[in-house]
Amino acid sequence: MSAEVMERGVRGAFYTLEDAAHAVEILEEKGFAQDDLTIFSPIPTAEIEDRLDRPRSPVRYMTLTGGILGCITGFVLTYWTFFAWPLHVGGKPVSSFPVTVVIMFELTVLLGGLFSLAAVFIFSRIPALTVKPGYHPRFSEDLFGVFVHTSEEEGKRSARDILDGLGALEVRDEAQ
């Protein structure tokens, strides 16, 4: 890979999520764009979301779409079947709504769940074939990482100074 297309930046590691989130706040105050900052965390804490003032996850819309689609599919499938292959028993109507409810419910859950899974894949950008810059195996173990995407020398210097000043355990340039 040529040096021009390499993504570069500065990485700092912290012991706690609070420190990492604090570093991101300071970096944002100093003019770094939100999209250029990444936190790596070994735990699924909701604090990241609360502290960082990121937009709400759009997963909800995918789940809702899947659920509605499933519900409609369940209705159409059963009613279409009732009339495509009518079973006349004892003069009763060929269609039965309570029966439909079971199938509609199951398909709502099924498609809602599958759409949620798809949403995680799409929005989290997984499966990913390449490792994002700034990642370190210890970020899945015991440390929290902050990565500042910047290729300019001035930006890097400024990020290094801020991270150093905040007591990051290790600050280094990263390239991929």
């Binding site: 706690t16 996850s57 079971v102 099924l110 769940g113 995680v120």
Partner: protein
């Protein structure tokens, strides 16, 4: 807080996090002799079940003990039993997640895997029971040349939808929960094979804030969707019976009664599996008396609901004034199947009463023994509901006594082996505890250790 204290606390936290990784990933080390010996026994029993199934396929379903009026027996008992076992997995992982019950963190991965493997086991039985397995696709609604469509009025078709949805959603829930933990295993893998396996399964997960943000949301919605699903699946299974007019089956309390029974048996199975696992992998600091006590209370609660349902059933039969209903329950208590009935009542109602005592609830030995009794009792509950009710239908000249043959026994044993085989494979290849969540909500003993490290 001074900077020094913050750093000390940070170091202590990092130390405990490293320990969680080390301890949980130790379960993935090369299997020992004990594991290999268990696997060998499990495979032998499974082979016996497979031989019995092949014999049945070649000879015909007549090799089972099925004959009118008992045309559903041990094979369907196994189906309902295993669907029931599958229930507590999603209860612990989804419902307790929504209730923010912290004790679930240590045991939910094991119960989720149990769910998936139990559904895989349950799913075999309708197929085995068909006799002509190759016709099972008749259940699937798809455009076909015969212009046939499933009869959506049949509870068996509802069951097909319910069980396949449950299997899919449980697997998705298990896998989504596993992704960050597989990434941990990937980062620590020592062999090339493991690095590649975990690398592919973790899908390139790196735990960035964006990934966690979407992940947490999706996990919440999956839990929200799985919660009513848990309640619906065993309700639908209960309607396989309740929609029929057979005395002993035709009852409106069947849905809640089956759901409570399913959770009861599932929690018992979680205890049966967790206790040896804890001992074998030295996970005493992760699963302690606190977790055992909580699981025991869940067992006691569901046992009480089941006990109540048994009493209501008997009372309703008497109050209905129907001779047939009364006859079935009289037979269940004092007739030819009284032995099975009393196994069910003792194991599910009387033995769990000992859980009112804290000493029993926090005793590893007694909890293991009680959980085994509950497993036996719940298997017999299904047997009694299915076989005894059918054997004692309306006309006395039809009454019969069903005896299972060796084929059904071998298939039943094979099913337990099939379930255990998957479970043994799982604990050696994937993290059997939720590493990321354990770090977030440290179990009590690790929390104490963190405090000690901070003070040091």
């Amino acid at each position: 807080m001074s900077e020094r204290t913050t750093e000390k606390s940070g170091r202590a936290q990092a130390g405990v996090f490293r320990r969680v990784n080390r301890d949980v990933l130790a379960t993935l080390e090369k299997p020992g002799v004990g594991w290999a010996a268990m696997m060998a026994v499990v495979l032998m029993v499974l082979a016996l079940g497979v031989v019995a199934e092949i014999y049945m396929l070649k000879t015909g379903i007549g090799v089972t003990g099925l004959e009118p009026p008992v045309m559903w027996a041990v094979l369907i008992t196994n189906f309902v039993f295993w669907v029931g076992i599958a229930h507590s997995g999603t209860l612990i992982s989804a419902i307790l997640f929504l209730f923010r019950a912290q004790f679930r963190t240590a045991v939910y991965r094991i119960s989720e895997t149990m769910t998936v493997f139990a559904v895989m086991t349950a799913g075999l039985f309708p197929l085995i029971h068909l006799g002509r397995v190759w016709y099972f696709y008749y259940l699937v609604p798809y455009p076909n040349q015969r212009l046939l469509w499933p009869n959506f009025r049949s509870p068996l078709v509802w069951d097909f939808f319910a069980i396949s949805t449950y299997f899919t959603i449980s697997s998705v829930f298990l896998y989504v929960g596993l992704i960050p933990d597989i990434a941990v295993a990937r980062d620590r893998a020592r062999t090339r094979f493991r690095r590649r396996l975990y690398g592919a399964l973790s899908l390139g997960w790196q735990g960035t804030d964006t990934q966690w943000r979407h992940y947490n949301r999706a996990y919440l919605y999956l839990a929200g969707l799985a919660t009513p699903l848990v309640l619906s699946v065993h309700s639908v299974v209960s309607w396989d019976f309740a929609m029929a007019i057979v005395p002993g089956w035709h009852s409106t309390i069947f849905a809640p009664y089956f759901v409570a029974g399913a959770i009861f048996s599932g929690v018992a199975m979680v205890i049966t599996l967790v206790l040896p696992l804890r001992k074998a992998f030295r996970l005493e600091d992760y699963i302690d008396e606190y977790h055992l006590d909580r699981l025991a209370k869940l067992l006691l609660l569901t046992s009480s609901i089941v006990f109540y349902a048994y009493l209501v059933e008997i009372w309703t039969a008497w109050y209905s004034g129907s001779e047939f209903e009364r006859a079935v329950f009289w037979d269940r208590l004092f007739g030819q199947y009284a032995w099975a009935g009393w196994i069910m009542y003792s194991c599910n109602c009387l033995i769990p009463l000992s859980l009112w005592f804290k000493r029993v609830r926090t005793s590893w030995f007694w909890m293991f023994i009680i959980s085994i009794f509950v497993n036996i009792g719940m298997w017999f509950e299904r047997f009694v509901i299915i076989v005894q009710s059918l054997a004692h239908e309306f006309e006395p000249y039809q009454w019969d006594y069903y005896k299972p043959t060796w084929v059904e026994m071998a298939i039943t044993a094979g099913a337990f082996a099939w379930f255990l085989m998957w479970f043994l494979l799982f604990i050696k290849f994937l993290p059997s505890m939720a590493i990321a969540e354990l770090k977030e909500l440290l179990p009590p003993k690790l929390r104490r250790q963190k405090k000690e490290l901070e003070a040091a």
